[in-house]
């Protein structure tokens, strides 16, 4: 009796474990196959030597990291460092501009009548259903020399004659802002929608000017959405390949282009792998920083009155 009961229970446990393995394994297999293994491979390649055809060869070395840091046959050159800094700068500028543009849009959508809101959100999202490359080509056509926009900029003296707005750093920034706008609007909208409008009134009732009411009562409550948006925008922007390639005209390379060139041209796989690892580390550092900021804002342990 007793034995069979125990047996039954352990049999049930085995079944449960099997069941668990069965449900988890597809996902786990996917992650191992497409994330863990390639990452490990990339990691290995980064520490190998560049062969004659740009393919990795033994022995292991730190050569690719030296090259990434800018040391070549002709001594040190700042090219890669510039690319890294340019990537960071483009990311910061583009993310900042996305925030500036998305914040009022998200707020405006919350003030619309309930039945209009999904439509407004759809209008924000729909462009991203078109392929990014196609949309970027669209911008090329809009900004190229001789187009109305370029002509207008020329008349205003913003650019030299016959230069066009594309290709340029400006075009890259514009492309990034345009491309990532929905990723900021959506989380901000979610944050705004949760906000009780009575709190804005309460702030004003408690002697806050409209600006102070925004700064002390509204803005802090949208910060979680804002941080989520920053993560969603900054990380892919940092590794962006298509937009700098097309709108920068090959002049304003970002880290993503540097990495891609090492693989596509067949020039230097280990260097490309080292660049990818650098990007990964930078991304993790950024995520960690966001987490810290979010914790400090959300935890509210220390009291400041």
């Amino acid at each position: 009796m007793n034995d069979t009961a125990v047996l039954g229970r352990s049999r049930a446990m085995v079944t449960e474990t099997r069941h668990l393995l069965f449900t988890v394994s597809p996902g786990a297999a996917w992650i191992i196959l497409f994330l863990v293994l390639p990452s490990a491979y990339l990691m290995g390649v980064a520490f190998m030597t560049n062969g004659p055809y740009g393919l990795p060869e033994m022995p292991l070395s730190l050569e690719s990291f030296r090259q990434l840091a800018g040391f070549g046959f002709l001594g040190w050159s700042p090219g890669n460092l510039y690319t890294l800094l340019r990537s960071l700068w483009q990311t910061v500028v583009a993310t900042g501009l996305v925030v500036v543009v998305a914040y009022p849009i998200a707020y405006y959508i919350t003030t619309c009548r309930a039945r209009w809101r999904p439509i407004m959100l759809l209008l924000v999202v729909v462009p991203s259903w078109t392929n990014q490359v196609i949309r970027t080509f669209g911008w090329m056509n809009l900004l190229a020399p001789g187009t109305p926009l370029s002509a207008a900029a020329e008349t205003l003296g913003l650019i030299a004659p016959n230069m066009g707005l594309y290709p340029s750093n400006f075009a890259v920034t514009l492309g990034l802002v345009y491309n990532f706008l929905p990723f900021m609007v959506l989380p901000l909208y979610a944050a705004f929608e949760k906000l009780d409008t009575a709190q804005v009134e309460a702030a004003q009732d408690l002697y806050a000017t409209p600006i102070k009411a925004f700064w002390h009562a509204v803005f802090p409550q949208t910060l979680p959405g804002l941080l989520a948006g920053v993560v969603l925008v900054a990380i892919p922007a940092f590794g962006m390949y298509v937009i700098p390639e097309l709108l920068g005209g090959g002049k304003a390379l970002m880290l993503g282009n540097l990495v891609a060139n090492q693989f596509s041209g067949g020039s230097n796989w280990p260097l490309g792998a080292a660049g990818a690892i650098l990007m990964l580390l930078a991304t993790f550092a950024g995520l960690y920083a966001m987490r810290r900021i979010g914790k400090r804002l959300g935890g509210g342990e220390e009291v400041v009155i």
Binding site: D196, A198, E201, A202, Y207, K212, H216, V303, I305
Partner: protein, 408 residues
């Protein structure tokens, strides 16, 4: 800034009363509101006229004057249709009416959150008609409490002082004082999402009071609470108001709550004031059928004929108190003014009827009776006598002075 003089006194009382702010939830906090405020109440008396005796009361409660306030939303909805009203300094004044009567709109105009289309508003000596909310010495306890979830209780309490530029040390002192006055105990270090409804209500009250406004506005602050907690907080709120001598303007749709708390009540309907007066006046002498019905009276009978003090309704002929003024349209007989006697007895203001329905409520019983073709309701205290049964023939007696004539 003026101080809350009696707040310090309250602090002393709290100190020597047995009320140690134990941790615990709100039950504890509510169970001991203002340890010894009972004798404070009797010390000061319930009326605002006693306030000068309140040891050096420098704080000046403000009166409010409203003149011809109009407000419409969109093209069709008239929220306020010409409101003239004066609220005395230090008064507990209630705006009472059904939803959509304009009471909340009026309160929001007082707060400055809504702008009147027409009319003037004066608070104290100052015309504030065009003054934005952050420049009015008026604070509001919102129906949803509208506490800031991203701030701690302490930061919520300090918010108004911070916005007004009160320095940090003073802020901390005043927050600590109000926390003691409202007996917040350890609630002060919690987060907003850790508070129950009753606790939030108290924090919202404290957040408004700490600013020591000339006028405190309360927008149905108790409507979200269950009945027991609600009546406890009613008493507490009333005591706070009496002790501070502050002008309170209270909005509610609950006539019982209005009667318990108010010095005076204004009954609103359709954006106009129907009647203003002390609770007894409004309840016992409603000026029209709307007020009478809203105060819970159903025994209203059209007067078909009036000769001097004699009126005829479908109930029969009744004699009013000599010199009863008022309209000749409806006769009001409050259910609790009726005596129900067994059998058929004769006399002035004696009506004969049959019990149709009896609702036994313990302390009293409610009767529905048929008098001729008419129906009348009577409430009788259960003093241990035999209560009439359904189908009993009874005699209803009402004193002439309890009969009121009411406009339609």
């Amino acid at each position: 800034m003026t101080e809350i003089p009696s707040a310090q006194r309250a602090t002393q009382h709290a100190g020597d009363s047995s009320a140690t702010p134990a941790d615990s939830g709100e039950a504890e906090h509510v169970a001991q509101p203002h340890g010894s405020s009972q004798h404070e109440l009797s010390e000061h008396g319930p009326s605002e006229h006693d306030r000068p005796a309140d040891g050096g009361s420098e704080r000046s409660a403000s009166s409010i004057h409203m003149q011809g306030l109009h407000k419409r939303f969109g093209n069709s909805t008239v929220a306020l249709d010409g409101v003239d009203l004066t609220i005395q300094a230090g008064e507990f004044f209630t705006l009472l009416g059904p939803s959509g009567c304009g009471k909340t709109t009026l309160l929001r105009i007082l707060a400055g959150l809504e702008e009147a289309d027409d009319g003037r508003l004066t608070i104290g000596q100052r015309d504030v008609t065009d003054v934005p909310p952050h420049q009015r010495s008026v604070n509001t306890v919102f129906q949803s409490y509208a506490l800031f979830p991203h701030l701690s209780v302490r930061e919520n309490l300090a918010f108004g002082l911070k916005m007004r530029g009160v320095d940090r040390q003073q802020r901390e002192e005043r927050v600590a004082r109000i926390a003691q006055f409202i007996q917040l105990g350890d609630l002060i270090d919690r987060r907003i999402d850790q508070l129950s409804g009753g606790q939030r209500q108290r924090i919202a009250l404290a957040r408004a009071l700490v600013c020591e406004p000339d006028v405190l506005l309360l927008d149905e602050p108790l409507s979200a609470l269950d009945a027991g907690l609600r009546s406890q907080l009613q008493v507490e709120l009333l005591r706070v108001q009496k002790r501070l001598g502050m002008t309170f303007v209270f909005v509610t749709h609950d006539q019982d709550e209005a009667m318990v708390m108010s010095d005076r009540i204004a009954v609103l309907n359709g954006g106009t004031i129907q009647q203003v007066g002390p609770p007894r006046d409004v309840y016992e002498r409603p000026v029209n059928a709307f007020v009478a019905r809203f105060m819970g009276h159903d025994n209203l009978y059209p007067i078909s004929r009036r000769e001097g003090d004699r009126v005829t309704t479908e109930l029969g002929e009744l004699v009013l108190e000599p010199g009863t003024a008022g309209s000749d349209e409806l006769l009001l007989i409050r259910p609790e003014t009726l005596d129900v006697l067994p059998g058929t007895q004769q006399g002035a203001n004696h009506l004969h009827g049959r019990v149709v329905e009896r609702l036994y409520r313990g302390s009293h019983a409610e009767f529905r009776l048929a008098v001729g073709a008419a129906t009348i309701q009577a409430t009788i205290n259960n003093r241990g006598h035999r209560l009439p049964e359904v189908d009993d023939e009874v005699t209803l007696v009402v004193a002439a002075e309890d009969l009121v004539t009411v406009a339609a």
